[in-house]
Symmetry: C3
Subunit: 460 residues, 3 copies
């Protein structure tokens, strides 16, 4: 038994007892997953399976890969399709590297709760565990669709490019399967002029929308068409990533001339920055119009290691955060839309210094602003503790958006929600035994943190 | 009974017992309140009362108001004078929003300790509690002057504009009342060239000081006159707020020409920034001369929501912090005055990243520098814990300035000091049971944190 | 008895018991001290002694001095050689200032564990304790060499200028003494063009290296010669301090022309910044070539108080941190060398906001990057706790470099390592009782944190 029932809770007995009681109320609630990166093709075909243990647990998970790479284990040796048992052995030999990390915690949770593994993963046990997991993955109850139900996922949002035809989402619906998987509108590839392949992305947007993009007006029309299409397939939200959350709009003529330069392949870096800022403002304007909740994820310096990017592409563990600034950058956007009753802006950060300094005061005052959960590197036991500590007093819990797992690793979803529910129960129990809230409040807050806040914030 | 005697203390029994013993030493000490924003007119007339519960507890408290506004409750519905019971009902219906916030904690403390309220404020209990509080407020023991004594306030400092005639402070003295309420010299409205109504503020300064301000020299003379006047009414400190704590002085000719442009209404934003920096330096120079303790409160971006500012004015919950930098910005000021035996500079921050990085090292080295307590959004249980954690090891406790409540909400004063005294006892108990300090040290430190450090830092 | 066996551990009994068991495993391990500032001349002559208590414990320790100065006690009164008993009395009278500070903790540890002092240092006990310590220091078992052995120091690295002839290191070797004390190559005085006496430092470098420095090429050759010489005396690492860790290289012609301007005394501040950035890159290049581990210590604004600097020189408590940025600044260096198997870069910070935001993600991905321990102001109980909290989940413990004491105060070495070993045991016990790691993992991690990680990171 690796997973103790009281794991993660603070050890003081009175507080732990209170935490266990609160946790018992939410442990088995369905999972609401309003933001993530699971591949929708897993669910469009009822016969689809997960492949072998390495394809499922290691190769798609850059949290896992980058830790091995940081210790001089090459990506070649990890990404090969030749001999998955050998990759698994390398992983097991080095599994000690994940001690006290979220990746280690999620993996152990998946192995035990999904596959019934009860021994520690080591170089010695590697082969046995590979066989056990591999055998399970061939069974019908381990297809993606079967696990979706077994894990009690009520709703799962994917993240999809603006030009994505959403083929798999359509196929899911056409198949009559009743799992609720909805798309999220992610326009970065067409709003960031310096995104790789921007010109082709625009062509794809033209094709997908049926709008011939010849200038700024038709570009906006195409985006609006796609948003409507995403909404028709259940989308309730958009997602925008920027390095800096500048939201200064351009005058129409400026937007047009920058866009035309970009179409001609003549834009400069200043163009890209100013156009990104403008499109942040514009995405807010569209959200006011169509009611899609706007998510903003700033502050990740992408592909910091050009050697790795050149050979293995994006999402290899080399997106490194930079400091963030919201107070000044969001002035134009909030001045225009921050008081609008139809607008909802969910802010995320990789810079925890902004929790207490900027984000909580903004969320605690503007009706349009709510705070997303601890994100990415901060989606961990300590990250959650720091979030509760630094956000809640000023923002107020009801100006936060519950949890989202933000993962590509489907099997880590229940593990991540379980950590969050435990972290929430532990936080609330701490407040309860300190008499900051009473038991009745704590129970109501635990349920809201588990599912209620996310449903409300994402209009699900 | 809402307020448990052991509320807020860490639950581990040995540490809690130590905390309770330390807290017992300081719980009933008089309140020293060296910085705040209570309206002095409350005390100038012995017949003055607080009005109804809404006028007392909700409408003047922008901590309370902004939380309701953040959930789409309009300022119109909250600020109306028409039907206070309806405002109270809205507040009670939404009181769950304050769960786990300092505002909620302070309010519950006031309701129970001042008004004897022992039931939870809900939509259902709203009417009964309104009646109970309203009835109390009509009793003679609930006048401001009576409560000042009952709450054991030893000294209360208000914050007053440089041009303020201090009519109410003079009236208090003239009335023979012996409550010690002293003014604090706040020059921002005349040192910040882009302050609303700067030109009229200068005229008011001329009128108040009797110095005809025609240029920089007479302006400085007027300020010096006012400082002397404030001192004559008991002031021991000044207070300056800036966005950025730049302290670079101007050459006399530059100061004069900027000031003349400002008098003519022709100053630009660069002028305002440079003049603010210069006046920070100049305020330090004056403090060396006259012995007034200098407080510096940087880093608040004021009136972030222009729609709210236009309709409801300042102090409506939309002052949002920005990151702060002290190390480089204070070089000119500290180079000149940091070693001076007569100078005392109290630094505050809304950017907690500066606690361990900049403020504690500065306070732990410069004889002139002390750190003010956790400020504004950080004046909370967690904020205090982070302050003790991040400041004390490097600054040393004796380079800090104790507590101040910084409030406009008179009734929250005892609640805030109680939270601080509990936080201090909890921190010291934690050190004691870890054998970092002994019991004798802990007792001495508890008393200093409650009142001694504040009296010394503010020269009271 | 001042030093309780369970001091510093969290009080919850189950966790404390686990911590005590882990601590027992590492308490008596030898000390590995791979970075510090102990004076090597203490060990080059077997007859060398420490002098009186004031010369040993107060005057060389700017942690201690600056706290007294911050309370208006003059450096004159502290640095005098006239009457050490009087200096000791001032120190003892004001020893309460060190309550709850690391300096206080280290001093009490040294007094009790080295000198057997068991009473509290106060104004009253000052004279007795002075006599007790002074008598001990005259005994043969209290020479530096004897204490080096008695304190079980396995290896001690000093920090030495590039032009240092390493006379004392050579004398130690020549004397046949078997204590392992190794130099560390610190090039700042010749790579920072605005360092005091840069031109003379270059001449000293010429003299020490035997390379006549007439331009950039001979300058690089001289540095390479010195690195080889340091290695011949056991050095395994270099150390570079910069204000900002910019690592942008210059084109060769630019480097040459800036260097020539500097030789002529005509360089400007822009030159110094660009050349420092270039030399950061160049030091990495040399480390790839010769295998010396590269340490980078950015972010200290040196000599912030010019009055103190002018009268008493450097290292008087007025080096104040500024905010740091690694993600963008290290792009050039990591792009070139970050994946190289022979390169090892140890990053330190005085800006704790970079722990979780930048440093842990970089160390958790780049094979060349490891994180040094909490540094300087953060080398404290709370600083260590914050480091474990904010670094380990993302970086992974095996991408950190264990502990180093970084001290000039020889007697504080065991005290500092003891605090670290307790902090590590406390952290691991917290994880163990929360079932994040098991007991077996915790034991292995405790030993690695005590000595294993440092030996590996520094190639000792």
């Amino acid at each position: 038994m690796m997973l103790a029932p009281d794991r993660l809770f603070d050890p003081e007995p009175v507080q732990k007892a209170a935490a266990l009681e609160l946790y018992a109320l939410v442990r088995d609630l369905p999972i609401v997953s309003p933001h993530g990166h699971v591949d929708p093709s897993l669910f469009s075909d009822s016969a689809r399976t997960f492949g072998n243990p390495v394809e499922l647990l290691i190769q798609p998970d850059h949290y896992v890969l980058r830790m091995l790479y940081s210790q001089h284990i090459s990506y070649e040796s990890l990404l090969t399709k030749e001999d998955p048992r050998q990759v698994w052995q390398i992983f097991a030999d080095n599994f000690y590297l994940y001690r006290a990390t979220p990746s280690g915690m999620w993996l152990e949770h998946s192995l035990e709760s999904v596959f019934g593994v009860s021994e520690k993963l080591t170089g010695e046990s590697a082969g046995r565990l590979y066989d056990q997991i591999d055998a399970a993955l061939k069974a019908p109850e381990f297809t993606p669709r079967a696990l979706f139900k077994q894990l009690r996922i009520e709703v799962l949002a994917t993240t999809d490019a603006a030009a994505d035809p959403l083929t798999h989402h359509q196929a899911m619906r056409a198949s009559g399967w009743d799992g609720r998987i909805i798309p999220t509108f992610r326009p970065d590839a067409v709003t960031n002029l310096s995104a790789p392949g921007w010109r082709q992305n625009i062509e794809a947007l033209s094709a997908a929308s049926g709008v011939n993009i010849t200038g700024y007006a038709s570009y906006i029309a195409a985006l609006e068409q796609r948003r409507a299409f995403f909404r028709s397939l259940g989308a309730t939200a958009t997602d925008t990533a920027t390095l800096i959350p500048d939201s200064t709009p351009l005058a129409p003529a400026q937007a047009e001339s920058i866009f035309q330069r970009a179409l001609r392949g003549q834009s400069n870096s200043g163009d890209a920055e100013r156009f990104s800022a403008h499109m942040l403002f514009e995405m807010a304007r569209m959200s006011v119009d169509d009611g899609l909740v706007m998510q903003l994820h700033p502050g990740s310096y992408r592909n910091h290691n050009p050697q790795i990017y050149a050979r293995y592409g994006a999402d290899r563990g080399f997106d490194i955060p930079v400091s963030a600034e919201f107070t000044r950058n969001l002035v134009p956007l909030l001045e225009q839309f921050g008081n609008h009753p139809n607008f909802s802006l969910l802010l995320f950060t990789l810079d925890e210094t902004t929790y207490a300094r900027e984000l909580a005061p903004l969320a605690g005052a503007y009706p349009a602003v709510k705070l997303g959960p601890p994100w990415w590197f901060h989606d961990s036991w300590n990250g959650m503790r720091r979030y509760f500590d630094q956000v809640m007093e000023t923002a107020g819990m009801y100006n936060t958006a519950g949890f989202n797992d933000d993962t590509r690793a489907f099997l880590s979803i229940p593990a991540r929600h379980d950590v969050w529910r435990r972290a929430a129960a532990n936080w609330l129990a701490g407040l309860q035994v300190r008499h900051v809230i009473d038991r009745q409040d704590a129970e109501s807050m635990a349920v809201d943190l588990a599912t209620g806040l996310a449903k409300k914030a994402y209009r699900l």
